[in-house]
Every structure is written in structure tokens, then in C-alpha cells.
């Protein structure tokens, strides 16, 4: 099963839920952190990263000897990444999505492609030892039920705006023989859509505030379009109002879990410690969460 954790609003607790699920399942689980603009799931699962692959996208490289400045490339570029002047062609690499239309359609075959590095994919697994959480803090772990946990994340280079190709590269590592948990970026634009695409189920983590509800509704709209079944987890439950509950009830959207608004949870998070390690009683809650999802999937797809 591929289970993605998305939200709409940022900062609602996607990584909290994704990492807690990965640590609660313990065995045969793979966590893909697709929030490549600011990946942080590795901090909570404390894995050692051992594999590093550069990820590139093709961008046009124009041979100005062959070019006759006809303007076809500019015309076919959907992202306005090329400007053809009287006797020059400018390529704005940061706008290029690497679709290849310009080089394919150039009547003079004057456009080649060169690789532009956008970031990297790193893979790892748990090994007992000492982990650097950030520059001033380390943790030492001997075990932690992480032996069956595989981990992959992407890191977008600073200054790059084009994350979907990197998200696709992370998802290529998805191993369907395991329970794959995808930690998605916030929002409903291309990066979030790319992360959840192909999931068997999506959990939308929200908070019971007007902001949370507003962006939850956007995410619900996106998932309906993608035809991915979904349910809601309410984080910081007890805060705000009951409008998220009303919204879900009116639309028949199941609320599968409520994580209370508690100082201890926030403190553990700020120290890079998962909720299920700070408060082991939550492990059972997250195991139940997975069971509820499996029940929904079986009910909708009896085969």
C-alpha cells in the first residue's frame, strides 16, 4: 500500500503523522519524504543516509551558429523560458520544466539539452549509533524498532523552484512490497499533487482552525480530482472550533484520529523526537490508524 500524508495548510502535522506511522509499523515499512523543499522526516526517524544521487533536469542548450532566430522555440515554450531577439536567444533555465518541446521542434536542430542539477535523492536505513540532529545536538540510539524501516528523501538545491522532477525521483524508489508512507509537501499545487499521485490512500492532516479548514477544503477538492480515497486526521485537537468536524460530517469524510493540542507533543517535536517515542502509548493509536485505513480500502475494494 502507498499511503500519502498531505494537508493543504502547512505546519499541521504531516511529518508528525508520517514519521509516527513509520515508527509504529516498525516492520516492512518505507518512508519517502517528498517535502523536498524542506525535508525533515529524517530527524524523527534517525536513519543513517548512505546513498546519494544527483538529480538533474534537461534544459535547452542553443547552438547560435545553427540558430536563425525564427522564434519557434519561444512559441512552443509553455513556461516563457526562452526569449528570441533579433540576433540572440536567451534561455531562462530557472523557468524551464525540462519538457523538451523546444529541442524536439527546432526546425534547424539547433537546440541540444544539457543537465541542470536541481537536487539529490538520499536513501538510508536505521543503524544503531549516534545521530546528528542538527549542528549542536546528537542522539544515541541502540534500537528503536526501526530495523525494518527503509528511508528515502529528496533535497532540492537552494534557489531551485522546480521540485516535481525531484519528487518523482524520490517516488521511483517506492517499494510496493512494503507499506510505503509518503510525506507530502503542503499546499495543493504541483509539488503536493506530484507527491500524492498514485497513492492508494491519502491522509489529510488538519487543525481545527479557520485556516486549517480553508486549506483542507482545497486539498479535498484536489484529491477528488485525482480520485484518491482519503480521510482526515485532526491535529492540535481542542484548539480552535468545531467547523472541521462539521465539514467532514456533512461530506461523509471519516475522521480517523485526533491528536490533542498538548505542550509535551510540541516539546518532543522541537527536539526531533517522535510523538510515539516521547509518549509510547500513542504507538497503539497509530497502529489503529493504519488498521482503519486498511478496513476502508478493503470495504471499497473487496478483491
Amino acid at each position: 500500500m502507498i499511503l500519502s500524508i498531505a494537508s493543504g495548510k502547512g505546519g499541521t502535522g504531516k511529518t508528525t503523522v508520517a514519521t509516527a506511522l513509520a515508527l509504529s509499523l516498525g516492520e516492512n515499512v518505507q518512508l519517502l519524504d517528498c517535502d523536498v523543499e524542506e525535508p525533515n522526516a529524517h530527524i524523527f526517524v534517525t536513519v543513517k543516509l548512505y546513498k546519494h544521487v544527483r538529480i538533474c533536469v534537461p534544459v535547452p542548450d542553443i547552438d547560435k551558429q545553427k540558430c536563425d532566430f525564427c522564434g519557434r522555440c519561444q512559441e512552443v515554450c509553455s513556461f516563457n523560458a526562452i526569449a528570441v531577439l533579433k540576433d540572440d536567444v536567451l534561455v531562462f533555465k530557472e523557468l524551464c520544466h525540462g519538457c523538451g518541446s523546444c529541442s524536439f521542434l527546432c526546425p534547424r536542430a539547433a537546440i541540444g539539452e544539457i543537465d541542470k542539477e536541481i537536487g539529490c535523492v538520499e536513501a538510508g536505513a536505521f543503524e544503531a549509533g549516534t545521530f546528528e540532529i542538527h549542528a549542536s545536538q546528537t542522539r544515541t540510539l541502540q534500537t528503536g524498532g526501526r530495523d525494518g524501516l527503509a528511508f528515502v528523501h529528496g533535497r532540492l538545491n537552494v534557489g531551485q523552484a522546480m521540485s516535481p522532477p525531484l519528487i518523482r525521483a524520490v517516488k521511483q524508489h517506492g517499494d510496493r512490497t512494503r507499506t510505503v508512507i509518503v510525506d507530502a509537501p503542503p499546499g495543493t499545487s504541483c509539488p503536493a499533487t506530484e507527491a500524492v499521485r498514485g497513492s492508494d490512500f491519502c491522509l489529510l492532516v488538519t487543525e481545527p482552525t479557520p485556516f486549517g479548514l480553508h486549506d483542507l477544503a482545497l486539498a479535498v477538492g484536489a484529491l477528488k480530482k485525482l480520485e484518491i480515497p482519503f480521510a482526515v486526521v485532526i491535529n492540535r485537537s481542542g484548539l480552535g472550533d468545531g467547523k472541521v468536524d462539521d465539514y467532514c460530517q456533512q461530506r461523509g469524510i471519516p475522521i480517523l484520529m485526533r491528536i490533542p493540542f498538548k505542550r509535551e507533543i510540541a516539546m518532543a517535536y522541537s527536539e526531533g523526537i517522535s510523538i510515539v517515542e516521547a509518549m509510547p502509548e500513542y504507538k497503539a493509536e497509530f497502529q489503529k490508524l493504519i488498521e482503519s485505513i486498511e478496513r476502508i480500502l478493503v470495504a471499497t475494494h473487496p478483491e
Binding site: Q74, F79, N80, A81, I82, A83, V84, L85, K86, D88, L90, F92, L95
Partner: protein
């Protein structure tokens, strides 16, 4: 001399549009005769790359200078590559701006005046 002024309206009595890439109109004007042509900007609602496309459109009109409020980095690069004199921080009426340029009242911008996406609607 042919120059271009970004404009909120389609004639010389209009106000200078402070945005370059997403201005309403480009007014291509002859500073000697004040003959002009108003071109509606198709890039107002572009998702991205408005400045680049507008820069290319202005370059295609063979103008010597562009008078506007602000220019972003991509538009600046396109205009510079086309050899167009970029004047920023221009406000007031389009006609007055053209006359002031003819009188040598403006100094060329040496770089972009704002960052990318500034003129997004």
C-alpha cells in the same frame, strides 16, 4: 527616436504603468513627432515569465529605450541583451515621460529595480 512607455491606458494621456512585464499597454512613441502606437500587453495574466515575454515584445518593436516604473531581473536581462536603454522609477503621464526622455532628464538603470514576481496580479 522610437521609445516605449508602459502605460495604464491606450493613449498618451494615460498614466505610466509602474509594472513592466504585466503593464496594461505598451505605448511605442516617436519622441520627435509624438506619433504613437498602443499595444495591449498579452502577458498581464501570464503564470510566469511575463517580463521575459514583454522584453521580447518590446525588443521586436526596435525601440531605443523603455520607460517604466519597475523592471525585474529576467526582463532586465532580456532588455539588456536587446540593447534597449532601461529607465525605471518613471511615473506621471506617458506624454510627459516621453518628452522628459527626449530632454535627457532620465538616467539609465544599471540593474533590475525589483525581484521576480513583483508584478503578479
Amino acid at each position: 527616436m522610437k521609445i516605449c512607455v508602459t502605460s495604464r491606458g491606450p493613449n498618451l494621456e494615460s498614466e505610466v504603468d509602474p509594472r513592466f512585464g504585466r503593464c496594461r499597454y505598451f505605448i511605442v512613441v516617436d519622441t520627435d513627432t509624438l506619433d504613437f502606437e498602443a499595444i495591449e500587453n498579452p502577458n498581464v495574466e501570464a503564470a510566469g515569465g511575463a517580463g521575459i515575454q514583454s522584453g521580447q515584445a518590446v525588443a521586436a518593436k526596435d525601440v531605443k529605450a523603455i520607460l517604466t516604473g519597475n523592471v525585474g531581473p529576467n526582463a532586465f536581462r532580456a532588455l539588456q541583451a536587446a540593447g534597449i536603454d532601461v529607465i525605471t522609477d518613471v511615473s506621471g503621464g506617458v506624454k510627459e515621460a516621453a518628452e522628459r526622455y527626449r530632454n535627457g532628464d532620465f538616467k539609465s538603470a544599471q540593474g533590475p529595480s525589483v525581484s521576480s514576481k513583483t508584478g503578479m496580479p
